[in-house]
């Protein structure tokens, strides 16, 4: 049993913002109890554990870049207690066997809860839909061909229809590759100055519009992931008015903070898909979050080996790590600067994504599951290769000092991370 003493309990979903003690008994949050272990949380915020709907943990296939173990260590260091693992692995998660493998590896690692996402199509080829039922039985909570868009309109239609009988999200990576091919960065002022291939905003908004049309036509659930441009938000707002299909979306932490100007230094740690967009787009995304258009903040954690990122910009792969910096970058750049309320940030990192994917976490209530994170908002840490737990170090924040330090992370009532030390929840001390 654990007592968390004197922390500032902060749960936007249940309207909690008060100083007080809570207890953890049998993995549940309790108002009262006895304590074997006491955590002095004076000066710390106690948030519901964060839920990431979109991370690339690279296993199986690219264990040199990240494993489920190292990825889930990075997750809890960043305050994430649940992580959905994207299926673009090698082999991809397109059958129950691989799904089970991911799930079991997550259990064995014993840090964050790992939920596999299955592929929409077999082999991620975009031709035939996967066995959604089997994938769900293997632990999958949604399907996605992320990394690639489902190019063929009839295939995404079938997926949206078939998924209706399971009530799972079909997660689209919206990118019309006919329009984005050869692109490296956002098409706009910076791509013009740098002479780089542009990825136009319409390559995203066209697929967003297409998928919304289809979801509304068949009455399916489309989840549009890593929305990055203003036009996509407009399409989503319009599309929801029809109230036929279910239309949900998320935004990455880095698209809320960074813009295309960062690319001017040719640093490949600012190269990702979708690309960093204009300041106008970034502001629209923050607006979308504040006004409930966007359902969740994701990390799109995408580890890449150093030797692959340490190349000419055009040759480097897309993607950046984000599990460890998501909260503190958003806190430092948005909350401290007054662009976003702390409550909004915490809600879209915890309860909102949890509810969306029907995961029973993301809140602090009597009898609720004890997935919690203790954060020192005044604390500061420097993002460096040696302070990142992820196996890959391709962070856009390298060398920066961020505020909002995760001090302690609790999953299922067990302390899995505390001040630079990790402990698996399936071993050692218990509550």
């Amino acid at each position: 049993m654990i007592k968390i003493k004197g922390g500032r309990l902060f749960d936007p979903k249940n309207g909690i913002d008060e100083e007080g003690d809570i207890y953890i008994v049998d993995g549940k949050v309790r108002k009262e109890g006895a304590a074997e272990i006491e955590i002095d949380a004076a000066g710390l915020y106690v948030f519901p554990g964060f839920v990431d709907l979109h991370a690339h943990l690279r296993e199986p296939g690219r264990e040199d870049e990240e494993t489920i173990e190292t990825g889930s260590r990075a997750a809890v260091k960043g305050g994430f207690t649940s992580v959905c693992a994207m299926p673009n692995t090698e082999p991809p998660v397109d059958n129950q066997g691989v799904a089970r493998f991911v799930k079991e590896k997550g259990e064995k690692a014993g840090y964050a809860r790992i939920f596999p996402i299955g592929t929409i199509t077999k082999g991620r080829k975009g031709e035939e839909i996967s066995e959604f039922g089997d994938l769900i039985e293997g632990g999958c909570v949604g399907v996605s061909d992320d990394g690639d868009c489902v190019r063929k309109s009839d295939i995404i239609r079938r997926a949206l229809e078939y998924a209706k009988m399971f009530n799972i999200p079909v997660i689209e990576h919206p990118e019309d590759t006919y329009l984005s091919e050869g692109g490296q960065i956002n098409e706009g002022r910076i791509s013009t100055i740098l002479g780089m291939g542009g990825i136009p905003s319409i390559s995203e908004s066209i697929i967003v519009a297409r998928d919304i049309e289809i979801a509304n036509f068949v009455g399916g659930w489309i989840h549009l992931t890593h929305i990055s441009v203003k036009d996509s938000l407009e399409k989503i707002i319009e599309g929801r008015k029809k109230q036929r299909g279910k239309i949900t979306c998320d935004v990455t932490a880095h698209h809320l903070v960074l813009t295309e100007d960062k690319v001017k230094e040719f640093n490949s740690n600012f190269k990702m898909k979708p690309p960093l967009r204009s300041e106008e787009d970034r502001r629209a995304l923050v607006w979308g979050l504040r006004n409930g258009v966007i359902d969740a903040i994701i990390t799109d954690h995408a580890p890449h080996a150093f030797f692959e990122k340490e190349l000419e910009f055009d040759l480097a792969p897309f993607g950046v790590v984000g599990l460890e910096t998501a909260f503190s970058s958003l806190y430092t750049y948005l909350v401290e600067k007054g662009e976003l309320e702390l409550a909004t940030l915490v809600m879209y990192l915890s309860s909102s994504p949890a509810l969306l994917f029907s995961l029973p976490y993301g809140e602090i209530r009597d009898g609720g599951i004890a997935d919690l994170v203790l954060v020192d908002l005044k604390g500061e840490w420097e993002v460096r290769e040696d302070t990142l737990a992820s196996k890959s170090k391709n962070s856009p924040y390298l060398g920066e000092k961020l505020r909002g330090v995760v001090v302690c992370t609790i999953v299922d009532g067990r302390i899995v991370y505390r001040e630079g030390e990790w402990r698996r929840r399936n071993e050692g001390i218990s509550s």
Partner: protein
């Protein structure tokens, strides 16, 4: 060639974007001094004896490479050439590996031609040797822009206030980007012309005017800068045919009748005669294309000298 001990206060020359007007003026002045050397019977000075320059050309370009080589030899520098076909690049060695290896051989300067924008910037941050950008993808070609500015200055006695039209594939042209930046910095006014599919939608961010109609575009300008049209762009479907390109954008003597008296034609070479420029224009009285080639050596001598002087 003595310039009173002035040097460029920078390690590298990566683009026109980062140069100030004063720095550009210094380079042009130094290049004028270098031209005197090129007129001498013995066209060589011992200025850079013991100074080693590596020419890394990851993209074929005989013209630019030769111009750099001549410039380096005129200054008595030692040179080593690495081209994509002869280097280990084909064996999977990265740009960084190649550069580090070359640096380990104690070179003082690297001249880099590369197909990726920012490759020289990437390299400059990671090696101690000075880096000169000899063209990075569609990004910049600063030595070309500087030799163009020198040519214009010689021809008109000034750059400030001139009107320049750049015609062709603005989208993929590093020459266009560097020239626009350089001309704007030196006070010239720039218009671009070409098929809309070859002009970036955001080009006005660079402070230029856009006109798709060549006849209208050329009416009031002092200089028409013709870009090389690469035939592979047509194959990628960016314009329907060479034939139609010629119809709308080839610079011919007939078209030039609508231009100002004394209009000057420039081209970075190599030319596609009969595509973007007719042979009569290329070899005609309007053309300063061969002056550009001569000035290329002088400008490169000046840049190498000014960067090397700082290192010493």
């Amino acid at each position: 060639m003595d310039n009173g001990g002035r040097s460029l206060n920078r390690k590298d020359l990566l683009g026109i974007e980062e140069l100030s007007r004063e720095e550009i003026e210094l380079i042009l002045e130094q290049a004028e001094g270098m031209k005197e050397i090129l007129e001498r019977p013995v066209r060589k000075v011992p200025a850079l004896q013991g100074f080693t320059i590596a020419n890394l050309f990851f993209e074929p370009s005989t013209r630019t490479l030769n111009s750099f080589l001549l410039a380096e030899r005129r200054l008595s520098a030692d040179t080593v050439n690495v081209s994509a076909s002869s280097s280990s690049v084909l064996k999977g060695e990265t740009l960084l590996d190649t550069a580090k290896n070359i640096e380990a051989m104690k070179v003082d300067m690297v001249v880099l031609r590369h197909s990726c924008p920012g490759a020289p910037h990437f390299l400059a941050k990671r090696i101690d040797a000075s880096v000169i950008n000899a063209g990075d993808g569609s990004h910049e070609h600063p030595t070309q822009a500087l030799l163009d500015l020198l040519t214009i200055k010689e021809k008109f006695g000034k750059i400030d206030g001139l009107k320049v039209l750049i015609v062709g594939d603005i989208m993929h042209s590093r020459v266009a980007r560097s020239d626009i930046l350089g001309l704007r910095k030196m006070g010239a006014w720039v218009r671009v012309c070409g098929p809309p599919t070859l002009i970036p939608l955001w080009i006005d961010e660079l402070g230029v005017e856009v006109e798709y109609n060549l006849d209208r575009a050329m009416r009031d300008v002092d200089i028409i800068y013709v870009l090389r049209i690469q035939k592979e762009r047509q194959k990628k479907g960016l314009f329907p045919s060479i034939r139609e390109y010629v119809k709308y954008f080839c610079i011919t003597p007939e078209r030039l009748r609508q231009a100002k008296e004394g209009v000057v034609i420039m081209h970075p070479g190599p030319m596609n005669r009969g595509v973007e420029i007719s042979p009569e224009v290329a070899d005609g009285p309007w053309s300063v294309i061969l002056d550009q080639v001569t000035n290329g050596v002088a400008i490169r001598m000046a840049i190498i000298y000014l960067l090397a002087r700082r290192r010493r």
